[in-house]
């Protein structure tokens, strides 16, 4: 067999190979885009689906969780469930809980985190009080009984981190005029998002206090904001200390209340203002 005879089919082979590859790439790019779109869609975690304690941030979680359900199995309170396709909001097969159904009881030994084989639930979480499953928000201040001036206090009483995560802040009841309002107030740095408050809110149907994922519940202060009453350090080292300007001639503060010269007073005999102890050249005495 001569090389010449061979060249024709070989070219055909190459062309076919290239065609096939192009088709393969195109097909897979299409399928990949479809899959990518589906994933971005499925990534949108609904607000009331809370991840288990120690769960990584949602994006990292979806790279880590293999959807094995071991956390679900080891939760003694049946808090956690694996999301079912089309029924639950979170990505199919991933663990979550709904506070109003069964909240997290904040087990001291955190069995769900211990069970997780992948680190999707971060084993660095050793103290359940450090969990950040979400943040409770008193979301309906018109129907919360305490907000109406009654003493329900249930969300406050059930909180495992009572008096730290949630406090009752007293204020005057303007409506009755002589009562107090004990406003349930959540402190996000201490709230674990366990959802016990939401679960036990006495309102029928939806709770007035709800645990929301931090990404929804929390705003973020801009980097350069500074609470002057907490942080007393000057913004800039070596502040230029400009002389304080006193009201007086040569300044724009000519209309200082009470004037600055006896002549300017309605009654010149009146003791008004003060006499500056200095004099700018070329001004009236």
């Amino acid at each position: 067999m001569s090389a010449k005879k061979n060249s024709q089919p070989r070219q055909m082979d190459r062309r076919r190979f290239l065609q096939d590859s192009a088709r393969g790439i195109a097909g897979c790019a299409l399928a990949g885009m479809g899959l990518g779109y589906f994933i971005s869609d499925a990534r949108a975690l609904p607000a009331q689906a809370l991840r288990p304690p120690g769960a990584l941030a949602e994006d990292d979680f979806l790279a880590a969780c293999i959807r094995c359900g071991l956390c679900v199995r080891d939760c003694p309170y049946n808090t956690l469930v694996l999301a079912e396709l089309g029924r639950d909001g979170p990505a199919t097969g991933t663990p979550f809980f709904t506070a109003r159904d069964i909240p997290c009881e904040m087990c001291e030994d955190i069995p769900c985190v211990l069970a997780c084989p992948t680190g999707a639930l971060d084993p660095a979480l050793r103290d359940i009080d450090d969990a950040k499953m979400g943040v409770a928000v008193l979301i309906d201040q018109e129907n919360c009984l305490n907000a109406l001036g009654l003493r329900c206090d249930v969300c406050y009483r059930v909180c495992p981190v009572i008096d730290e995560a949630i406090t009752l802040e007293r204020s005057h009841n303007e409506r009755s005029g002589h009562h107090a309002i004990f406003m349930p107030t959540v402190h996000a740095d201490k709230c674990t998002g366990c959802g016990k408050c939401e679960k036990s809110c006495v309102l029928p149907g939806e709770a007035a206090i709800k645990v929301l994922p931090a990404r929804i519940a929390r705003a973020e202060a801009a980097d350069h904001y500074k609470l002057g009453w907490e942080d007393r350090n000057p913004l800039v080292d070596d502040l230029i200390d400009l002389p304080d300007r006193l009201p007086g001639p040569g300044t724009d503060n000519l209309a200082a209340p009470g004037g600055y010269l006896p002549e300017a007073m309605p009654d010149p005999g009146m003791e008004g203002g003060f006499t500056p102890s200095f004099k700018l050249p070329g001004t009236r005495p």
Binding site: G24, G32, L62, A64, I66, G69, R73, E84, L85, R87
Partner: protein, 307 residues
């Protein structure tokens, strides 16, 4: 040779060896599939928690962690380094399949296999056309696509749509609408593409095949000299192209089916009335003479096309 004019597959083997001998690996395979599924169901159904979890990841008897190496690989690609437990689990599973054949997962464990086998059985009964047959390399493209999407989206991409884990997890934890994906696979195999899912698309199977590329346990066409071209093995094999090189090989070429697409399902061993096939290991160097007329008739390419 036309499939339609031929006697039903395996009839000769049943006549020669009896029903059990002509179905043993099929039966064993179904038993194995049921066994692995029921191990996982013991907990949720009967409260016997020998095994917790599912095929994606599990813990047996409180000490033995197992992780799906394909999922672990996607997790790594997505940028997450799993905890040691998960990694060890993936390593154990990967090693096991590397020894016994990656696609043993497909034929002996995977819960979708009975579904696609069922579709194929019905396809046969209805005498449907084989339909769209993707190119041989398609499954590699699909696998590459999954890897790329995992990297780009930073997620374990295939788990969003994987009918294998959806079915398995669904049976154990609750199905939701996941059955729709399983039905889709069934319908696809039945009406769109014969043996299309497992044979051409499923990246799980492709990955496991890769894993078992050098596996020790193999099927060999050891007595290929006795083959009488009844074609039954081609008819039952889910990956029939793997048979040709071994069965039709010249003397001196190995009779061992070395393709990593072979699922080690053993059906060819079942249905061969001439007892050509047997399980062996890849280093088996027993001499296997080819059939004498091999060089003359060359039915190899024609056969695989017909089948």
């Amino acid at each position: 040779m036309s499939i339609k004019t031929r006697a039903p597959v395996g009839r000769e083997a049943i006549a020669t060896f009896g029903w059990w001998r002509a179905h043993r690996f099929l039966i064993l395979r179904r038993l194995s599939q049921m066994f692995f599924l029921s191990l996982f169901l013991l907990g949720p159904w009967f409260g016997i928690w020998w095994i917790k979890g599912n095929l994606s990841g599990s813990l047996s008897f409180g000490i033995l962690p197992l992780t799906d190496p394909f999922i672990a690989a996607q997790s790594l690609i997505a940028g997450h380094w799993p905890e040691l437990t998960g990694l060890i689990g993936a390593l154990i599973v990967a090693l096991a399949y590397a020894l016994i054949g990656g696609r043993v997962y497909c034929s002996w464990v995977c819960p979708v296999n009975p579904v696609t086998d069922g579709a194929h059985w019905l396809h046969d009964r209805l005498g449907l056309k084989k339909g769209w047959q993707p190119k041989a390399g398609t499954r590699w493209w699909v696998l590459a696509m999954v890897v790329a999407v995992s990297a780009l989206t930073g997620t374990i991409a295939w788990e969003f749509v994987n009918p294998v884990s959806m079915l398995h997890r669904g049976l154990i934890f609750g199905m939701g609408l996941a059955w729709a994906f399983v039905v889709a696979v069934f319908v696809f195999d039945l009406f769109v593409s014969r043996r299309g899912w497992c044979g051409h698309l499923c990246p799980v199977g492709t990955f496991y095949g890769l894993l078992g590329a050098k596996s020790v346990l193999r099927v060999s066409a050891a007595r290929r000299a006795d083959c009488d071209d009844c074609m039954d093995c081609f008819a039952v094999c889910p990956e029939m192209h793997v048979i040709t090189p071994a069965l039709r090989g010249q003397a001196g070429e190995t009779p061992i089916i070395l393709s990593h697409d072979c699922t080690n399902c053993g059906r060819c061993i079942d249905v061969c009335a001439k007892d050509v096939f047997a399980f062996t290991h890849r280093f088996d160097a027993t001499d296997a003479p080819a059939r004498d007329d091999r060089s003359r008739s060359q039915p190899a390419s024609g056969a695989s096309r017909a089948a």
